[in-house]
Protein backbone atom coordinates (compact mmCIF):
# COMPACT_ATOMS: atom_id res chain seq x y z
CA UNK A 1 0.00 0.00 0.00
CA UNK A 2 1.27 3.45 -0.96
CA UNK A 3 0.68 6.56 1.16
CA UNK A 4 0.85 10.08 -0.21
CA UNK A 5 4.05 11.75 0.96
CA UNK A 6 2.43 14.09 3.48
CA UNK A 7 0.78 11.21 5.39
CA UNK A 8 4.05 9.30 5.57
CA UNK A 9 5.69 12.34 7.13
CA UNK A 10 2.92 12.69 9.67
CA UNK A 11 3.42 9.07 10.72
CA UNK A 12 7.13 9.60 11.16
CA UNK A 13 6.64 12.72 13.20
CA UNK A 14 4.09 11.11 15.49
CA UNK A 15 6.28 8.11 16.06
CA UNK A 16 9.34 10.22 16.87
CA UNK A 17 7.43 12.51 19.19
CA UNK A 18 5.99 9.48 20.99
CA UNK A 19 9.38 7.90 21.54
CA UNK A 20 10.68 11.21 22.86
CA UNK A 21 7.94 11.38 25.44
CA UNK A 22 8.80 7.85 26.47
CA UNK A 23 6.41 5.35 28.03
CA UNK A 24 3.63 6.44 30.28
CA UNK A 25 4.57 7.15 33.88
CA UNK A 26 3.33 3.84 35.28
CA UNK A 27 5.28 1.74 32.77
CA UNK A 28 8.39 3.82 33.36
CA UNK A 29 8.12 3.30 37.12
CA UNK A 30 7.42 -0.42 36.79
CA UNK A 31 10.47 -0.90 34.58
CA UNK A 32 12.58 1.18 37.00
CA UNK A 33 11.39 -0.94 39.93
CA UNK A 34 12.27 -4.11 38.02
CA UNK A 35 15.72 -2.65 37.44
CA UNK A 36 16.13 -1.86 41.16
CA UNK A 37 15.05 -5.41 42.00
CA UNK A 38 17.34 -7.02 39.44
CA UNK A 39 20.32 -4.95 40.58
CA UNK A 40 19.53 -5.65 44.23
CA UNK A 41 19.09 -1.93 44.98
CA UNK A 42 15.55 -1.88 46.42
CA UNK A 43 12.36 -3.93 46.75
CA UNK A 44 9.58 -1.72 45.48
CA UNK A 45 6.34 -3.00 43.96
CA UNK A 46 3.14 -1.56 42.59
CA UNK A 47 0.24 -2.96 44.55
CA UNK A 48 -2.34 -4.83 42.49
CA UNK A 49 -5.59 -2.90 41.99
CA UNK A 50 -8.13 -4.24 44.46
CA UNK A 51 -11.28 -5.72 42.94
CA UNK A 52 -14.70 -6.65 44.25
CA UNK A 53 -15.62 -10.09 42.98
CA UNK A 54 -19.27 -10.58 41.96
CA UNK A 55 -19.13 -14.01 40.37
CA UNK A 56 -16.65 -16.86 39.99
CA UNK A 57 -16.78 -20.20 38.23
CA UNK A 58 -14.87 -23.45 38.73
CA UNK A 59 -13.74 -25.59 35.82
CA UNK A 60 -11.07 -28.30 35.96
CA UNK A 61 -10.19 -27.16 39.52
CA UNK A 62 -9.44 -23.68 38.15
CA UNK A 63 -11.20 -20.66 39.63
CA UNK A 64 -12.14 -18.02 37.05
CA UNK A 65 -13.54 -14.58 37.85
CA UNK A 66 -16.72 -14.14 35.78
CA UNK A 67 -17.64 -10.68 37.00
CA UNK A 68 -15.83 -8.10 39.14
CA UNK A 69 -15.38 -4.37 39.48
CA UNK A 70 -12.43 -2.18 40.39
CA UNK A 71 -12.18 -0.82 43.94
CA UNK A 72 -10.09 2.02 45.29
CA UNK A 73 -6.73 1.37 46.90
CA UNK A 74 -6.66 2.43 50.59
CA UNK A 75 -2.98 3.27 50.33
CA UNK A 76 -0.70 4.76 47.71
CA UNK A 77 0.01 2.48 44.76
CA UNK A 78 3.71 1.75 45.31
CA UNK A 79 5.51 0.64 48.42
CA UNK A 80 8.57 -1.20 49.52
CA UNK A 81 11.94 -1.24 51.17
CA UNK A 82 15.06 0.74 50.33
CA UNK A 83 18.22 1.00 52.36
CA UNK A 84 16.44 -0.25 55.51
CA UNK A 85 13.65 2.33 55.14
CA UNK A 86 9.97 2.05 54.32
CA UNK A 87 9.01 3.86 51.11
CA UNK A 88 5.54 4.60 49.78
CA UNK A 89 4.51 6.76 46.84
CA UNK A 90 2.00 7.36 44.14
CA UNK A 91 2.33 8.40 40.50
CA UNK A 92 0.13 11.15 39.10
CA UNK A 93 -0.07 12.59 35.61
CA UNK A 94 -1.83 15.77 34.59
CA UNK A 95 -2.24 17.49 31.23
CA UNK A 96 -2.91 20.76 33.04
CA UNK A 97 0.03 23.09 32.41
CA UNK A 98 -0.37 25.67 35.17
CA UNK A 99 -1.52 23.71 38.22
CA UNK A 100 -1.87 20.19 39.57
CA UNK A 101 -5.55 19.54 40.41
CA UNK A 102 -5.90 18.04 43.88
CA UNK A 103 -8.80 15.93 42.63
CA UNK A 104 -5.97 13.62 41.48
CA UNK A 105 -5.24 12.71 45.10
CA UNK A 106 -8.09 10.96 46.91
CA UNK A 107 -8.91 11.91 50.48
CA UNK A 108 -7.80 8.51 51.85
CA UNK A 109 -4.49 8.90 50.02
CA UNK A 110 -3.88 12.24 51.75
CA UNK A 111 -4.67 10.56 55.09
CA UNK A 112 -2.21 7.78 54.19
CA UNK A 113 0.50 10.37 53.36
CA UNK A 114 0.01 11.99 56.80
CA UNK A 115 0.13 8.54 58.43
CA UNK A 116 3.34 7.42 56.72
CA UNK A 117 5.05 10.65 57.82
CA UNK A 118 3.81 10.15 61.38
CA UNK A 119 5.06 6.54 61.55
CA UNK A 120 8.51 7.43 60.22
CA UNK A 121 8.38 6.27 56.61
CA UNK A 122 9.43 8.00 53.40
CA UNK A 123 6.46 9.15 51.33
CA UNK A 124 6.13 11.23 48.18
CA UNK A 125 4.26 11.85 44.95
CA UNK A 126 5.78 11.53 41.51
CA UNK A 127 3.98 14.06 39.33
CA UNK A 128 4.36 14.15 35.55
CA UNK A 129 3.42 17.62 34.36
CA UNK A 130 4.51 19.58 31.28
CA UNK A 131 6.42 16.44 30.25
CA UNK A 132 8.68 16.67 33.31
CA UNK A 133 8.73 14.16 36.17
CA UNK A 134 8.75 15.78 39.60
CA UNK A 135 9.20 14.21 43.01
CA UNK A 136 7.22 16.16 45.61
CA UNK A 137 7.82 15.02 49.20
CA UNK A 138 4.83 14.11 51.36
CA UNK A 139 5.91 16.86 53.75
CA UNK A 140 5.82 19.56 51.04
CA UNK A 141 2.50 18.22 49.76
CA UNK A 142 0.89 18.31 53.22
CA UNK A 143 2.37 21.73 53.94
CA UNK A 144 0.76 23.10 50.77
CA UNK A 145 -2.71 21.68 51.32
CA UNK A 146 -2.74 22.67 54.99
CA UNK A 147 -1.70 26.27 54.36
CA UNK A 148 -3.14 27.09 50.92
CA UNK A 149 -6.59 25.49 51.16
CA UNK A 150 -6.89 25.49 47.36
CA UNK A 151 -8.17 22.91 44.89
CA UNK A 152 -4.89 22.64 43.02
CA UNK A 153 -1.17 23.01 43.57
CA UNK A 154 0.28 25.85 41.50
CA UNK A 155 2.99 24.87 39.03
CA UNK A 156 5.18 27.54 40.63
CA UNK A 157 5.06 25.67 43.97
CA UNK A 158 5.97 22.41 42.22
CA UNK A 159 8.85 24.05 40.36
CA UNK A 160 10.07 25.59 43.61
CA UNK A 161 9.74 22.58 45.94
CA UNK A 162 9.78 19.41 43.84
CA UNK A 163 12.87 17.64 42.48
CA UNK A 164 13.18 16.79 38.79
CA UNK A 165 13.69 13.12 37.98
CA UNK A 166 15.57 12.99 34.70
CA UNK A 167 14.66 10.27 32.21
CA UNK A 168 17.42 7.90 31.23
CA UNK A 169 17.90 4.50 29.66
CA UNK A 170 18.17 2.29 32.74
CA UNK A 171 16.54 2.82 35.12
CA UNK A 172 14.21 4.97 33.10
CA UNK A 173 13.24 7.06 36.13
CA UNK A 174 15.95 6.94 38.77
CA UNK A 175 13.80 8.38 41.55
CA UNK A 176 15.92 6.69 44.23
CA UNK A 177 18.76 9.05 43.32
CA UNK A 178 16.46 11.88 44.46
CA UNK A 179 15.44 9.88 47.55
CA UNK A 180 19.14 9.57 48.42
CA UNK A 181 19.59 13.31 48.06
CA UNK A 182 16.57 14.19 50.25
CA UNK A 183 16.48 11.44 52.89
CA UNK A 184 19.98 9.97 53.09
CA UNK A 185 22.02 13.15 52.87
CA UNK A 186 24.27 12.40 55.80
CA UNK A 187 25.00 8.78 54.88
Amino acid sequence: MQYPNNIKKEFTKLSVSHSNRGMNLESALNSSNEYYLRKDIALIYKKPTPIGIVDVSYKNHKKTIEKAYFKEQSTLDYNGLYNGKYIEFDAKETLNKTSFPLSNVHEHQTIQIRNVIKHGGIVFLIIRMNNINYLLTGEDYIHYIDTEKRKSISYDYIKEKAYIIKEAYQPQLDYLKIVDKIYFKGE
Copy 2:
Protein backbone atom coordinates in the same frame (compact mmCIF):
# COMPACT_ATOMS: atom_id res chain seq x y z
CA MET B 1 -38.61 -29.79 61.95
CA GLN B 2 -37.55 -32.05 64.79
CA TYR B 3 -34.16 -33.64 65.06
CA PRO B 4 -33.45 -36.77 67.09
CA ASN B 5 -31.59 -35.86 70.29
CA ASN B 6 -28.19 -37.13 69.22
CA ILE B 7 -28.13 -34.98 66.05
CA LYS B 8 -29.05 -31.85 67.99
CA LYS B 9 -26.11 -32.45 70.33
CA GLU B 10 -23.76 -32.92 67.42
CA PHE B 11 -24.84 -29.54 66.01
CA THR B 12 -24.25 -27.81 69.33
CA LYS B 13 -20.82 -29.35 69.72
CA LEU B 14 -19.76 -28.34 66.23
CA SER B 15 -20.91 -24.80 66.69
CA VAL B 16 -19.11 -24.38 70.04
CA SER B 17 -15.92 -25.90 68.75
CA HIS B 18 -16.02 -23.54 65.76
CA SER B 19 -16.38 -20.44 67.92
CA ASN B 20 -13.50 -21.66 70.10
CA ARG B 21 -11.24 -21.93 67.13
CA GLY B 22 -12.09 -18.35 66.25
CA MET B 23 -12.04 -16.84 62.77
CA ASN B 24 -9.67 -18.07 60.14
CA LEU B 25 -6.16 -16.71 60.25
CA GLU B 26 -6.61 -14.17 57.44
CA SER B 27 -9.71 -12.61 59.01
CA ALA B 28 -8.01 -12.46 62.39
CA LEU B 29 -5.00 -10.68 60.86
CA ASN B 30 -7.14 -8.27 58.86
CA SER B 31 -9.12 -7.28 61.95
CA SER B 32 -5.90 -6.90 63.94
CA ASN B 33 -4.44 -4.66 61.21
CA GLU B 34 -7.61 -2.54 61.24
CA TYR B 35 -7.20 -2.22 65.01
CA TYR B 36 -3.55 -1.14 64.62
CA LEU B 37 -4.60 1.42 62.01
CA ARG B 38 -7.51 2.77 64.09
CA LYS B 39 -5.34 3.08 67.21
CA ASP B 40 -2.53 4.70 65.21
CA ILE B 41 -0.10 1.90 66.09
CA ALA B 42 0.98 0.71 62.64
CA LEU B 43 0.10 0.88 58.94
CA ILE B 44 -0.09 -2.70 57.76
CA TYR B 45 -2.23 -3.91 54.85
CA LYS B 46 -2.90 -7.14 53.04
CA LYS B 47 -2.04 -6.67 49.39
CA PRO B 48 -4.87 -7.30 46.95
CA THR B 49 -4.57 -10.57 45.05
CA PRO B 50 -3.22 -9.79 41.59
CA ILE B 51 -5.42 -10.77 38.69
CA GLY B 52 -4.93 -11.15 34.98
CA ILE B 53 -7.75 -9.47 33.11
CA VAL B 54 -9.05 -11.23 30.01
CA ASP B 55 -12.11 -9.15 29.20
CA VAL B 56 -13.71 -5.88 30.34
CA SER B 57 -16.86 -4.05 29.38
CA TYR B 58 -17.90 -0.40 29.61
CA LYS B 59 -21.42 0.66 30.52
CA ASN B 60 -22.47 4.11 31.75
CA HIS B 61 -18.77 5.09 32.01
CA LYS B 62 -18.23 2.18 34.41
CA LYS B 63 -15.59 -0.44 33.69
CA THR B 64 -16.58 -3.98 34.63
CA ILE B 65 -14.29 -7.00 34.54
CA GLU B 66 -16.04 -9.72 32.53
CA LYS B 67 -13.34 -12.37 32.77
CA ALA B 68 -10.15 -12.64 34.79
CA TYR B 69 -8.01 -15.17 36.61
CA PHE B 70 -5.99 -15.08 39.82
CA LYS B 71 -2.24 -14.60 39.60
CA GLU B 72 0.46 -15.26 42.16
CA GLN B 73 1.74 -12.47 44.38
CA SER B 74 5.46 -11.79 43.82
CA THR B 75 5.86 -10.75 47.45
CA LEU B 76 4.44 -11.85 50.78
CA ASP B 77 0.79 -10.92 51.32
CA TYR B 78 1.11 -8.32 54.10
CA ASN B 79 3.39 -5.34 54.34
CA GLY B 80 3.62 -1.98 55.96
CA LEU B 81 5.23 0.36 58.42
CA TYR B 82 5.65 0.01 62.17
CA ASN B 83 7.71 2.19 64.44
CA GLY B 84 9.75 3.54 61.52
CA LYS B 85 10.52 0.04 60.22
CA TYR B 86 9.46 -1.87 57.13
CA ILE B 87 7.51 -5.05 57.93
CA GLU B 88 6.50 -7.85 55.58
CA PHE B 89 4.96 -11.20 56.39
CA ASP B 90 2.73 -13.98 55.19
CA ALA B 91 0.10 -16.09 56.92
CA LYS B 92 0.11 -19.86 56.52
CA GLU B 93 -2.23 -22.49 57.89
CA THR B 94 -1.67 -26.22 57.94
CA LEU B 95 -3.78 -29.10 59.22
CA ASN B 96 -0.65 -31.23 59.43
CA LYS B 97 0.11 -31.84 63.11
CA THR B 98 3.74 -32.93 63.03
CA SER B 99 5.36 -30.76 60.38
CA PHE B 100 4.82 -27.64 58.27
CA PRO B 101 5.01 -28.60 54.57
CA LEU B 102 7.29 -26.21 52.69
CA SER B 103 5.00 -26.48 49.66
CA ASN B 104 3.04 -23.78 51.52
CA VAL B 105 5.79 -21.26 50.77
CA HIS B 106 6.34 -20.58 47.09
CA GLU B 107 9.88 -20.27 45.76
CA HIS B 108 9.47 -16.54 44.96
CA GLN B 109 8.26 -15.97 48.53
CA THR B 110 11.42 -17.56 49.90
CA ILE B 111 13.45 -15.30 47.58
CA GLN B 112 11.47 -12.32 48.87
CA ILE B 113 12.17 -13.32 52.50
CA ARG B 114 15.92 -13.43 51.76
CA ASN B 115 15.66 -10.05 50.01
CA VAL B 116 13.81 -8.30 52.83
CA ILE B 117 16.43 -9.53 55.33
CA LYS B 118 19.21 -8.31 53.02
CA HIS B 119 17.67 -4.85 52.63
CA GLY B 120 17.17 -4.38 56.37
CA GLY B 121 13.44 -4.99 56.80
CA ILE B 122 11.54 -7.12 59.32
CA VAL B 123 10.14 -10.30 57.76
CA PHE B 124 8.39 -13.33 59.22
CA LEU B 125 5.77 -16.03 58.74
CA ILE B 126 2.70 -16.42 60.90
CA ILE B 127 1.95 -20.14 60.96
CA ARG B 128 -1.29 -21.55 62.40
CA MET B 129 -0.67 -25.17 63.33
CA ASN B 130 -2.33 -27.41 65.91
CA ASN B 131 -4.66 -24.46 66.64
CA ILE B 132 -1.75 -22.30 67.81
CA ASN B 133 -0.49 -19.17 66.02
CA TYR B 134 3.28 -19.03 65.74
CA LEU B 135 5.51 -16.22 64.54
CA LEU B 136 8.62 -17.65 62.86
CA THR B 137 11.22 -15.03 61.92
CA GLY B 138 12.49 -14.92 58.34
CA GLU B 139 15.97 -15.56 59.72
CA ASP B 140 14.93 -18.79 61.48
CA TYR B 141 12.96 -19.88 58.42
CA ILE B 142 15.93 -19.35 56.08
CA HIS B 143 18.32 -20.99 58.55
CA TYR B 144 16.13 -24.10 58.59
CA ILE B 145 15.71 -24.47 54.84
CA ASP B 146 19.40 -23.79 54.19
CA THR B 147 20.65 -26.31 56.72
CA GLU B 148 17.98 -29.03 56.77
CA LYS B 149 17.21 -29.36 53.05
CA ARG B 150 13.89 -31.05 53.86
CA LYS B 151 10.42 -30.70 52.38
CA SER B 152 8.83 -29.62 55.66
CA ILE B 153 9.71 -27.87 58.90
CA SER B 154 9.39 -30.18 61.89
CA TYR B 155 6.92 -29.12 64.55
CA ASP B 156 9.73 -29.46 67.07
CA TYR B 157 11.70 -26.72 65.29
CA ILE B 158 8.65 -24.46 65.23
CA LYS B 159 7.99 -25.08 68.95
CA GLU B 160 11.65 -24.36 69.71
CA LYS B 161 12.18 -21.27 67.56
CA ALA B 162 8.81 -19.63 66.90
CA TYR B 163 6.94 -17.29 69.26
CA ILE B 164 3.34 -17.99 70.23
CA ILE B 165 0.86 -15.21 69.42
CA LYS B 166 -1.96 -15.52 71.94
CA GLU B 167 -5.51 -14.87 70.75
CA ALA B 168 -7.36 -12.08 72.49
CA TYR B 169 -10.36 -9.85 71.98
CA GLN B 170 -8.75 -6.75 70.47
CA PRO B 171 -6.52 -7.01 68.60
CA GLN B 172 -7.35 -10.63 68.00
CA LEU B 173 -3.75 -11.49 67.12
CA ASP B 174 -1.36 -9.01 68.69
CA TYR B 175 1.65 -10.05 66.62
CA LEU B 176 3.28 -6.62 67.02
CA LYS B 177 3.81 -7.44 70.70
CA ILE B 178 6.05 -10.29 69.52
CA VAL B 179 7.70 -8.00 66.95
CA ASP B 180 8.51 -5.60 69.83
CA LYS B 181 10.07 -8.43 71.81
CA ILE B 182 12.20 -9.69 68.92
CA TYR B 183 13.17 -6.55 66.99
CA PHE B 184 12.82 -3.61 69.39
CA LYS B 185 14.29 -5.16 72.53
CA GLY B 186 16.59 -2.31 73.37
CA GLU B 187 14.04 0.49 72.79
